[in-house]
């Protein structure tokens, strides 16, 4: 009998797949909504999206056992359309190539990029659909698990999607600040994205945790661990304060002061969002409690 079969590799996968698909969405949003501004954010977002999802998927593959040493076994992984892993396999197989081609197109990498530029709108539309699918499916993956009642709620995919968008935006903003120092002013516009998605995330997280207190004994045990139990220092410290409240306040100032905020604080807020995104996934996995059976 085991408590949790999944550990850090799956947590890292959930985080990177979310951040990668979020970065794709951020890049498309920047490219479509703000064509006159600096293209740094769109370029940065497209550059991180594919690689993050690829690294995440490698973590997932590393967590497989027989399927890792005997990779041909992976052909069986699309056998059961009632399994979210089969769906994930399909979604990732489509999204990863699109994300890589999109990066090539926006950054004019090789002839593939030049060719793809002609179809950029189509790539953006289809890619966004699969980016949302990737981010949402990571939440559904654990939400359908009967063995852990705390995960068993439709709020889970909503939380994962909101968190994917904020972590993706954060990853894109960090790279944008690196590749184009003068882009800080433009980034201030996108701080509004953080303000919106961090609020949504905070709201959904609050619903998830507090409604779990009355959902079932096991869900309440998990929520209790986060609110006041063994994991509460991490929950309040890493997720709520460092991952949500501080970057929210910094992003509000970043937006209001418009380009006057020191670069360290801009990037700092983004790093905190990433720490929060990783921590929330780790805590959700580690607080999972199986039903009391005896």
């Amino acid at each position: 009998m085991q408590e949790s079969a999944w550990g850090w590799l799956i947590i890292t996968y959930l985080f990177l797949a979310g951040a990668g698909s979020g970065a794709f969405i951020a890049a498309v949003a920047c490219d479509l909504l703000a064509p006159d501004w600096s293209k740094a954010l769109a370029r940065a977002g497209s550059l991180v999206a594919g690689p993050l999802v690829v690294i995440g998927t490698l973590c997932l593959a590393l967590d497989l056992e027989a399927g890792f040493w005997q990779p041909w076994r992976q052909v069986y992984m699309v056998n059961n359309l009632r399994s979210m892993i089969s769906w994930g396999f399909i979604i990732l197989s489509i999204f990863i190539p699109i994300a890589l081609v999109y990066a090539a197109a926006l950054n004019e990498i090789t002839f593939v990029g030049k060719l793809a530029q002609k179809y950029i709108t189509i790539i953006e539309i289809i890619g966004s659909i699969f980016a949302v699918a990737t981010a949402t499916y990571t939440g559904v993956l654990i939400a359908v698990v009967n063995g852990v009642p705390f995960w068993n709620t439709p709020l889970m995919p909503v939380l994962f999607l909101a968190s994917a968008i904020s972590t993706g935006l954060a990853a894109a903003m960090i790279l944008a600040a690196i590749i184009d120092v003068n882009t800080i002013k433009t980034l201030s516009n996108f701080a509004l994205g953080h303000v919106i998605f961090l609020s949504v995330e905070a709201l959904v997280l609050m619903l998830l945790v507090f409604m779990s207190l009355t959902r079932s004994t096991e869900a309440a045990a998990s929520a209790g661990m986060l609110i006041s139990g063994m994991l509460s220092p991490y929950f309040w410290g890493l997720v709520v304060i460092l991952g949500l409240v501080v970057p929210f306040i910094l992003s509000v100032f970043e937006f209001l002061e418009y380009g006057q905020m020191p670069k360290a604080l801009v990037v700092g807020a983004d790093i905190l969002v990433l720490i929060g995104g990783m921590s929330i996934r780790a805590l959700i996995v580690f607080s999972g409690t199986p039903p009391q059976i005896i």
């Binding site: 999944w6 497989l64 399927g67 992984m77 399994s83 892993i85 359908v144 852990v148 059976i293 005896i294």
Partner: protein, 180 residues
């Protein structure tokens, strides 16, 4: 086709772990691997104190969540209603271990696949009974066809009002328990 199940009379269990050893022997498991567990629970307080031993193993659920989530289809149900893992197609993703509400699956790191109680299908198909049933010195377990109302197991379940563990989870288990 029969629909096999087991009834367990926990009032008779003395917690001797013979079933575990017989199972390990039958399935060539390592000493630290097992398909059945015995959990204990305290009942009452001194002087009316009692210790309850509860033997646990895969429930061969009719509505098995482990099978629903298995991406490869490695987890399947035989025509006798026994839930098995195909060692040739399992990739070791461990999704089934998360999905099983009873936590009755283990990962075999040597072969990289997930394992669990097989209800000794090779013995059962030859007309025998699972090793845990045969071995138990106090005959805690009764094995048989749940669809045959005259089988010893069906009669026992009907007479004692035995229930599966946590039937509210909706997985329709086929292991029944008689609790005091």
């Amino acid at each position: 086709m029969p629909r096999y199940g087991i009834a367990i009379d926990i009032t008779k269990c003395i917690g001797c772990h013979s079933c575990r050893v017989a199972c390990q022997n039958q399935n060539s498991l390592e000493s630290n691997e097992t398909f059945n567990w015995i959990k204990h629970r305290d009942r009452g307080r001194y002087p009316s104190y009692d210790k309850e031993f509860i033997p646990l193993q895969c429930n061969h659920c009719e509505n098995a969540p482990c099978q629903r989530v298995c991406p490869t289809g490695a987890t399947y149900t035989t025509k006798e209603g026994i839930v098995l893992v195909n060692p040739k197609t399992c990739v070791g993703c461990k999704y089934c271990m998360e999905a099983c509400p009873y936590k009755m699956r283990i990962i075999d790191h040597r072969r990289g696949i997930v394992e669990k109680c097989r209800l000794c299908i090779e013995l059962v198909r030859d007309g025998g009974t699972p090793a845990c049933v045969t071995t138990c010195p106090t005959q805690v377990r009764l094995f048989g066809d749940l669809d045959d109302p005259k089988s010893a197991v069906s009669v026992f379940i009907a007479k004692t009002g035995s229930q599966p563990l946590r039937p509210d989870l909706g997985t329709i288990p086929k292991i029944f328990y008689k609790r005091s």
